[in-house]
Every structure is written in structure tokens, then in C-alpha cells.
């Protein structure tokens, strides 16, 4: 699983249990910088839990999570807050603040974390809304938006601080295939524009292959495979083959 690329996030033997249910059983994973890495795997295997470990929303029972050389398990809340400034996250439900309209949602991190003039904030927000094709939706409230629009607004809010790393928690769950495709294309285009490191959790196969640089599979609480996207599709591993071929809707002959 070692890559020659610079590594920005590193998970080492991460274990996590909720009550008596063990979810992560020693996850080891390297995330290359400036690429999109997608983690696939069956539902309920702890993919989202793993993603939340990377940004410190959940602390592991054992193991290390190293972001840019700093072990998240050994720092206090204030230091964690500093690390989080490198990150943004697009949640499964988009997690827009429902008390604010779309414009204020996107402006929120800027207003909170950067002491820029309101005029400057306004310009940055409008620019970002235009990029995600929500240019004239700023005045709408999250409750008035469709699922795809919420995801776009969430993406704009994630991008507006120009983070180094963006975490995507099943960005296309609950969307129709066309909308899912559009969101994937948008993520890819934004990654090309801004060059962030994308870490995505998804089970949209084969949709994610063309937009991912690397693909890893989480199974039974461990990463069982990771390789560049094109190699991953040709893997000989029977467990992985079964999972991706079932999702492809085609039966791949055993190699």
C-alpha cells in the first residue's frame, strides 16, 4: 500500500468500538496529497466513522491519526482546532445551517474565521456560488432546496475557505443517477481548479472510478486493498472483485 507520493494523512492501526460493537479493527491507510482517494465498502462497515476520525470528530480507542506530521490523538482541543483549519467536510446530509439562507451558510466560515470586510466576503461567496451553479439561489433557505442543490451549497461552503483537505461523506447518497453524476463531475472539476486533497467515502460503483486517483476498500474493519483507480478495477482479489462486480451489475469472470 505504500506510494511514492507525499502523504498528507496517515492512519495507523486505528481501532474503534461503540459499546461492545467493534467497528474499526486496525485501519491502516495512507492518503496521498493533492489527489482524490475514495474508500469503498459495504454499508455499515464504518466508512463514515473512519472519515470522522480523520477530522477529530471521533477519537479512536487505539492507533494514530497523523495529519501533516501531527498525531491527532496526542493534542488538546485548541491544537485540534488549528489542525481543522486545513480541513473542510461535505456531510452526507450536507449539514447546512437551517436557520440561515444559502448565502449566509457559505459566508459563515469566512465571517467566523477571517476578519474580512463584508464586501470582500460577499464577492468570495458569490464567486463560489457561481462555480457550483447556485449563483441566483443565495437567498433561499436549505428547506427550499432539492437534494442536489443542498450538496452544491455544502460544497461551496466547504470550498470557500480554500482548505487543503476536503472530506466527502457519501456525497451522492439519495440523489438520482444524473444528479449524482453531476456532483461527481463538479467535485472533480473543483479538485482540478483548487488542487485540494479529496478523501471520499462512497459506494457509487463504477461512478467513482473515473474521478478517483486512488481507491481503497474497507471490509470487516480493515483496509483490505488500495491501489490507483485503474489498477483497482483490474484487481485479482476475489472479495474486491465480487463487491465491485455486483455493484457494476455485470458478472466478471474469475481471473
Amino acid at each position: 500500500m505504500s506510494t511514492s507520493l507525499p502523504i498528507i494523512v496517515k492512519l495507523v492501526e486505528v481501532e474503534k468500538a461503540f459499546g461492545e460493537q467493534s467497528v474499526l479493527k486496525g485501519v491502516t491507510l495512507d492518503i496521498p496529497k493533492g489527489k482524490i482517494t475514495t474508500i469503498i465498502g459495504p454499508s455499515g462497515e464504518g466508512k463514515s466513522v473512519m472519515l470522522k476520525h480523520i477530522i477529530g470528530l471521533i477519537r479512536p480507542d487505539r492507533g494514530k491519526i497523523i495529519v501533516d506530521g501531527i498525531d491527532l490523538t496526542r493534542i488538546n482541543d485548541r491544537e485540534l482546532n488549528d489542525i481543522r483549519k486545513k480541513f473542510a467536510m461535505l456531510f452526507q446530509s450536507a449539514a447546512l445551517f437551517d436557520s440561515m439562507n444559502v448565502f449566509d451558510n457559505v459566508a459563515f466560515p469566512l465571517r467566523e474565521k477571517r476578519r474580512a470586510a463584508e464586501q470582500e466576503i460577499s464577492r468570495l461567496v458569490q464567486e463560489m456560488l457561481d462555480r457550483v451553479e447556485l449563483g441566483d439561489m443565495g437567498h433561499k433557505f436549505p428547506a427550499e432546496l432539492s437534494g442536489g442543490m443542498k450538496k452544491r451549497a455544502g460544497l461551496a461552503r466547504a470550498l470557500v475557505m480554500r482548505p487543503e483537505i476536503i472530506l466527502f461523506d457519501e456525497p451522492t447518497t439519495g440523489l438520482d443517477p444524473l444528479m449524482a453524476h453531476a456532483i461527481h463531475k463538479l467535485i472533480l472539476a473543483m479538485q482540478k481548479t483548487f488542487g485540494f486533497t479529496g478523501i471520499m467515502v462512497s459506494h457509487q460503483i463504477p461512478e467513482i472510478f473515473p474521478i478517483s486517483d486512488w481507491v481503497a476498500m474497507l471490509r470487516n474493519g480493515k483496509i483490505i486493498a488500495m491501489s490507483p483507480s485503474d489498477e483497482f478495477q483490474q484487481t485479482a482479489d476475489p472479495v474486491v472483485r465480487e463487491f465491485i462486480s455486483v455493484n457494476n451489475g455485470i458478472h466478471l469472470a474469475p481471473v
Binding site: L57, N81, E112, L167
Partner: protein
């Protein structure tokens, strides 16, 4: 044996919950005095807790004062001391009924709303979203509600006392024919600074109890709509019980 296990499990759970509640309170206090002070949020919450509860508080106060005067009048008449009606109403209002009933109304009106608001934000990952933006959710969501309650509840209690005493005047003097001047003069001679001060102290602590319990229950809502309903019910019941229990202890110390 099974019964013993059950009792033990329940007891452990209760102790754990109490511990978690105190940790929550201490952490909230820790964030109370750290910048930025969210004045706009505090004012918004004062509008919700204070202003929006004022109608129901006035209504309750009016009828409480009226019924006190009615009951008091018939009891006092047996001893021919109807002239003391004013002091009877005022002292029960200022010492007990004002702080307790106003706080119970705030719990029902604003406390349940606090739990629901924070609980929904928990379920829809909005609290996680705040954290990923390096914004402490306790400081952003909880401290403004606590500060607003600490300011608003004593003011509501003061309103309750005044309206209640006027309600007593309405029934005692206008309806039952007690002399107006003896109603007011008995209040003047009987109410001491100690009574007023005790009432203020009570109302401040009740304000803390309401916001603390209701925010805690919302913050740790289980991830379902059933969980949210349960959290709201629990917060109102627990806050109401704690207000009455704390009232007894505080009264016994103040006496």
C-alpha cells in the same frame, strides 16, 4: 439476581449521566469567558427566552396573584386580619411562587425549544459541521443560551412578582373590599430586603438549571426523531424537578 443486575445497571447509568452533566456544565463555563463574546447571539436568545416567554409569564402571574388573594382573604378573615392580605400575597410571590412558577413556565416555553433546536442540529450533523469549521459548538450554541437565561429569568421573575401582587390587589381590594391602603402598607412593612434578594438568587440559579439541563439533553440527543422527542420530554421533566428540589435546599439555607 436479575433484579439486582437491573438495579445495578440503572444506578451506574444514573451516576454516569450525572457525571456527564457536570462535565458539560464545567466545559460550558470554560467557554463562557473566552472570546469571541457573541453579543448578537445572546440578544437573539434573550428575545426567545425572555421576550417570547413574557406573555405566558404575565398570564400565570396574574391568575396566581388573584387566587392567592382569594384563598388568603378567606383564611385571614377568620382571624379578622384581612388587612394583612397584601403582605401574604407579596411574600409568597417574592419568596416562592414568582421564582418557581416563572422558571417552570420558561422551562415549558423556552427550555423545550432549546432542546429541540440543539437536538435537530445534532441529528442533522450541523453540530459536527460547526466543529469541522474549527468553531466550538458549546461556545457557539450553548453559552449564548446560558447567558441569556441568566439575564432573562430574573427579569421575568421580577415581572411575575409585580403582576402577581397587582392580581392580588385586583381581587382583594376591588372585588372583596379590603382597604387599598392597608393592602399596600402591609406589603411595605412585611417585605424585607432579604426576601427580594433571596428571590433574585433563586431566579438566577433556576435560569442556570433550565438552560443547562435543556441544552445538555439536546446536545446528547440520540440520532433519531424518536430520540429527539424523548430528549425534549426528559429535559422538561428533569429541569422542572431540579427546580423544585433546588428550591427546597436554597430556601432552607436562606431562612
Amino acid at each position: 439476581m436479575i433484579l439486582l443486575q437491573h438495579v445495578g445497571k440503572r444506578t451506574l447509568f444514573l451516576i454516569e449521566e450525572m457525571g456527564a452533566m457536570f462535565v458539560f456544565l464545567l466545559r460550558t463555563f470554560g467557554w463562557l469567558f473566552r472570546p469571541p463574546v457573541r453579543i448578537a447571539q445572546i440578544i437573539k436568545q434573550m428575545h426567545v427566552v425572555g421576550f417570547k416567554s413574557s406573555f405566558v409569564v404575565i398570564l400565570t402571574a396574574l391568575f396566581t396573584g388573584m387566587v392567592l388573594a382569594l384563598q388568603g382573604y378567606y383564611s385571614l378573615r377568620k382571624f379578622g386580619s384581612e388587612g394583612l392580605l397584601g403582605s401574604a400575597v407579596a411574600i409568597s410571590m417574592i419568596r416562592e411562587l414568582g421564582p418557581v412558577l416563572a422558571s417552570l413556565m420558561v422551562t415549558a416555553r423556552a427550555g423545550s425549544a432549546m432542546t429541540a433546536e440543539i437536538g435537530i442540529m445534532r441529528i442533522t450533523e450541523q453540530i459536527d459541521a460547526l466543529e469541522t469549521m474549527a468553531i466550538n459548538s458549546l461556545q457557539y450554541l450553548v453559552t449564548p443560551k446560558v447567558v441569556a437565561s441568566l439575564i432573562s429569568v430574573p427579569l421575568l421573575v421580577a415581572m411575575f412578582d409585580v403582576v402577581g401582587i397587582w392580581g392580588g390587589y385586583l381581587v382583594g381590594v376591588k372585588l372583596l373590599g379590603v382597604s387599598g391602603s392597608s393592602y399596600w402598607s402591609s406589603i411595605e412593612s412585611a417585605v424585607e430586603w432579604k426576601d427580594v434578594y433571596g428571590g433574585i438568587l433563586k431566579s438566577i440559579s433556576f435560569g442556570l438549571i433550565v438552560s443547562w439541563i435543556c441544552c445538555y439533553k439536546g446536545y446528547y440527543t440520540r440520532m433519531s426523531s424518536e430520540g429527539l422527542g424523548k430528549a425534549t420530554t426528559e429535559s422538561v421533566v428533569l429541569a422542572a424537578v431540579l427546580i423544585l428540589v433546588w428550591d427546597y435546599f436554597l430556601t432552607s439555607v436562606l431562612m
